[in-house]
């Protein structure tokens, strides 16, 4: 075990993979000698050489197009998109190529060995273009997997699993807690299962569901609610696609109440999918409507960032409203 922050855990995961897999390559803007703008890829070029860890020109569509070809050739391609706000030029390559590569070829070819890493999320005074949480766009692509860790230990295990999973994975890293989230991380090679949610705390009165940096937020809200005698069950969804509906539903069968928190704007956010599925599966078990505590339907603001964010206070209020329904 070693104490690591989330960034170090990511770095550790990459080293772990690259040491064992000769065909693993990391590339993107500034990831080479510089080690990435967040230092997630530091020392990789030094350790593994320029052939396996290199800068690419500044073109997200090029990076992902290149990554698609590389992965289909059989290499373990780990591409970085510097900010998830910039992933959109690569949208065509991801949706029309990456996600469909296996299906359209009848299984002859695939991009299963592709992983795209990208920092996402707000809370760093990043404004419109350094704060977005685009997971909902990618949740809508059959063929992609989307994975989001909440802390260093989950990050390392999930990233290693994502890289090794024989399906293209978009691994979204909550940049707000890159350094702030610190924890004990096993130093060995381990994987955590994709497609499975993690029940962080058990409770009986309401299920709180979030991912990435927002898990800490709902935990904080749960502490406040505890003082009111409300027992909250906290779930980290971990995988957005495919998502662990069973775990969430089993929790809601028990508690009868669900609250989902995400930074991304409310309308069409991933909470909508969760709410729709849970109401279908748990219709008779619901004591109150499902609450969604999300960002506003606005571009991510700078000066009003604090007010925009679905913070622990908004979550706490929503818990109370749900319990009082």
């Amino acid at each position: 075990m070693a104490k690591m922050n989330l960034l170090q855990a990511v770095n550790n995961a990459l080293i772990t993979v690259m040491e064992k897999d000769e065909r693993a390559m990391v590339f993107g803007e500034d990831v080479g000698h510089f080690g990435g703008v967040f230092r997630a890829t530091s020392n990789l070029q030094q350790k593994f050489g320029k052939g396996r860890c290199f800068n690419t020109p500044l073109t997200e569509q090029g990076i992902i197009g290149f990554a698609n070809g590389l992965a289909s050739q059989g290499a373990t391609a780990i591409a970085e998109i510097q900010f998830s706000d910039y992933i959109f030029p690569a949208f065509d390559q991801i949706i029309n190529e990456t996600a469909k590569w296996r299906y359209r070829s009848g299984g002859q070819f695939s991009c299963g060995s592709l992983t795209i890493r990208t920092p996402y999320g707000g809370g760093i005074a990043g404004g419109h273009y350094h704060s977005q949480s685009p997971e909902a766009f990618f949740a809508h692509i059959p063929g992609m997997k989307v994975v989001i860790p909440r802390n260093p230990k989950q990050a390392k295990g999930l990233l290693i699993a994502s890289i090794r999973d024989d399906n293209p994975v978009l691994f979204m890293e909550p940049k707000k807690i890159y350094r702030a989230s610190v924890g004990e991380v096993p130093e060995d090679d381990y994987e955590l299962p994709l497609g499975k949610a993690d029940v962080v705390t058990t409770g009986s009165d309401i299920t709180l569901l979030a991912w990435g940096a927002q898990v800490e937020v709902i935990e904080k809200a749960a502490q406040m609610a505890k003082k009111d005698g409300i027992s909250c069950e906290i779930i980290d969804l971990q995988s957005i696609l495919p998502w662990d509906a069973e775990a969430v539903c089993q929790s809601v069968y028990k508690t009868g109440r669900l609250l989902i928190n995400h930074e991304a704007p409310l309308t069409g956010g991933f909470a909508s999918e969760i709410a729709a599925t849970v109401q279908q599966e748990c219709f008779l078990y619901l004591e109150a409507p499902i609450a969604r505590v999300c960002g506003l339907d606005t571009p991510y603001p700078l000066a009003h960032e604090k007010e925009y964010m679905p913070d622990h206070l908004k979550t706490y209020e929503a818990i109370k409203r749900t319990l009082d329904y």
């Binding site: 509906a245 069973e246 539903c249 089993q250 069968y253 028990k254 009868g256 279908q280 599966e281 748990c282 219709f283 008779l284 078990y285 619901l286 004591e287």
Partner: protein, 554 residues
């Protein structure tokens, strides 16, 4: 010419029985027209023709066993649809339709586990509630099918309730001593590997037949596989203690301050329906549930144990204030039963004395024979058998009168009841069909019944359907009695104690005679005094001269 090959229907079926030919050789058939009915292990299936044509040969007779992969019938193709169909193809097509038909009979909608709520059934004859005497399991125990889960005490008996399925006990809905209403859930059990309620074999087979006959082959919609289950992707756990209800129903319950957990759920998926909530709202104003029917077989009113206990506790009450004891269970039932009997049946009595000496001699001589079979022989078997023989001559004693006294039903079976002191009080179980039983068999049953009564294991069956009752109160004491008829029977006899009394013999000497007083109560609507006396005379004649029983013994 094309042979129709009986296809491999699957699941190891290698042959089927030719039930019916729907056509004859030489008949013209159209494509899809049913040609034969065959019966497999699973179902009766219709075989349709694959082409237009004329039936040229039927390869089997009715009742023959047709082999799979062998020709069933031959067809000369005619008409525009003439296509050279390979044997493989024809097998494929017919396989498809027959397989589809067979599929519908094999339908298994299995779920790996679900909650099974054990609802206290109507135990019988108007019982509406019972007391939880003893749980034999705890929450979390895994029980086997038939394993006793709980003992409940009804109006009549202590009844053991066994588990219907294998599975883990998830929740016990009552504590020991609680009164559980009939039709409420006693306990929840997680049941494994149960098939969802699919149609029975015969229903499926007829459905298949129907669909095949109207629209065979590809057009048949007999595939009832409906995997579209909204909201049933996952299996909820059982130990929730939470009521299921739709939001609309929850609103209703809340508006009326009804706790959903307290409402009986009658809806699909175990949910509380709007109607259930409305019933609960209405029921909240009602008094305790009352017994609707009155056909309880309570004993006659000679139960001293409760009363003696009662007086004892009163005596020992140092503080000398009134003590209130609630009457429930058997005592309540008995009270009600007595009321019903006395208030609706005009009782009259007939008494006589019975000389037992001959019977005693007979019994003494027969005792070793019975003991050799480990059966204790008391007087009761004789009394019982003799009663049955007498009833044969006086069938009116084995009858039922309806409440309006407009209809009398003569019962066939002689189910003779004996009052026994059971674990929970005096009950009157009966021995069935005494008319067909030997003395030996009756003796065995008497012993068994007494044993069961002692252990509190008398069943509902034991306690119902009686023809006539015997109360051997004399075994304890007393000479005469006025027994209360065990409604809906029409007569009851109380036996006094055996006394050795001086009587005159035929020759005028005074002898010591073993005498027993016999006390009949009869339903005067049905039995008149003369009939009662004649009946009793016959019965006593059998008992005082038991050898006379041999004359009419069956």
């Amino acid at each position: 010419m094309i042979d129709f090959i009986l296809p491999d229907i699957g699941e190891g079926i290698v042959e089927c029985e030719l039930l019916k030919w729907l056509v004859a050789e030489g008949d013209s058939v159209r494509e899809d027209q049913p040609v034969a009915e065959v019966m497999t292990d699973k179902a009766t299936v219709e075989i349709p023709a694959m082409h237009d044509g004329v039936v040229s040969k039927l390869y089997y007779k009715i009742g023959d066993i047709a082999k799979v992969h062998a020709p069933l019938f031959a067809l000369e193709q005619t008409g525009g649809n003439q296509q050279k169909v390979s044997e493989h193809e024809s097998t494929q097509i017919s396989e498809k339709s027959v397989a589809k038909a067979a599929l519908s009979t094999n339908l298994k909608n299995s779920q790996t586990s679900r909650i099974e709520a054990f609802v206290l059934p109507d135990i019988g004859e108007g019982i509406v509630e019972c007391e939880i005497m003893q749980w034999h399991v705890s929450e979390g125990d895994v029980v086997q099918e038939d394993q006793v889960v709980v003992e409940v005490m009804t109006d009549k008996a202590v009844v053991e309730i066994p588990a219907k399925y294998n599975g883990k006990i998830i929740k016990l809905h009552y504590k020991k001593g609680d009164i559980a209403g009939v039709h409420t859930t006693l306990f929840d059990q997680a049941v494994e590997d149960m098939s969802d309620s699919g149609p029975t074999q015969s229903a499926e087979a007829s459905k298949t037949r129907e669909s095949l006959s109207t629209n065979p082959t590809q057009n048949d919609e007999s595939l009832p596989v409906d995997a579209y289950k909204q909201g049933e992707t996952f299996t909820p756990p059982v130990d929730l203690g939470r009521a299921l209800a739709s939001p609309a129903v929850r609103r209703l319950a809340r508006e009326h301050n009804v706790l959903l957990n307290d409402v009986s759920a009658t809806g699909a998926k175990g949910r509380v329906l709007k109607q259930d909530v409305l019933s609960a709202i209405a029921g909240n104003g009602q008094a305790d549930k009352q017994a609707s029917k009155s056909s309880n077989n309570a004993s006659d009113n000679q139960a001293e144990s409760p009363s003696s206990k009662q007086s004892a506790s009163m005596l020992s009450d140092v503080n000398s204030h009134d003590k209130v004891e609630s009457i429930k269970g058997i005592r309540l039932a008995m009270a009600k039963q007595m009321m019903a009997s006395v208030s609706t049946i005009p009782h009259f009595s007939v008494s006589d004395e019975l000389r037992l000496d001959n019977l005693m001699t007979l019994r003494t001589s027969l005792k070793p024979v019975f003991e050799a079979e480990s059966v204790k022989l008391s007087f009761l078997p004789f009394f019982i058998k003799a009663l049955s023989m007498a009833m044969t001559s006086f069938p009116i004693v084995n009858s039922r009168l309806n409440d309006q006294a407009t209809e009398l039903t003569y019962l066939h079976a002689h189910n003779i009841g004996i009052a026994v002191d059971s674990k929970i009080g005096l009950l009157v179980p009966n021995i069935k069909n005494v008319q067909s039983l030997s003395l030996f068999e009756i003796a065995k049953q008497v012993n068994a019944i007494i044993e069961r009564a002692r252990e509190g294991k008398l069943t509902n069956v034991d306690l119902s359907g009686g023809s006539i009752s015997i109360s051997n109160i004399g075994a304890i004491g007393g000479i005469t009695a006025s027994p209360v008829i065990n409604k809906p029977e029409v007569a009851i006899v109380a036996l006094g104690k055996i006394q050795t009394l001086p009587r005159f013999s035929d020759s005028g000497d005074v002898i010591a005679a073993n005498m027993m007083m016999i006390n009949w109560s009869g339903d005067h609507r049905v039995i008149d005094g003369a009939t009662m006396v004649k009946f009793n005379n016959l019965w006593m004649d059998y008992l005082s001269h038991p050898e006379k029983m041999l004359v009419h013994l069956r």
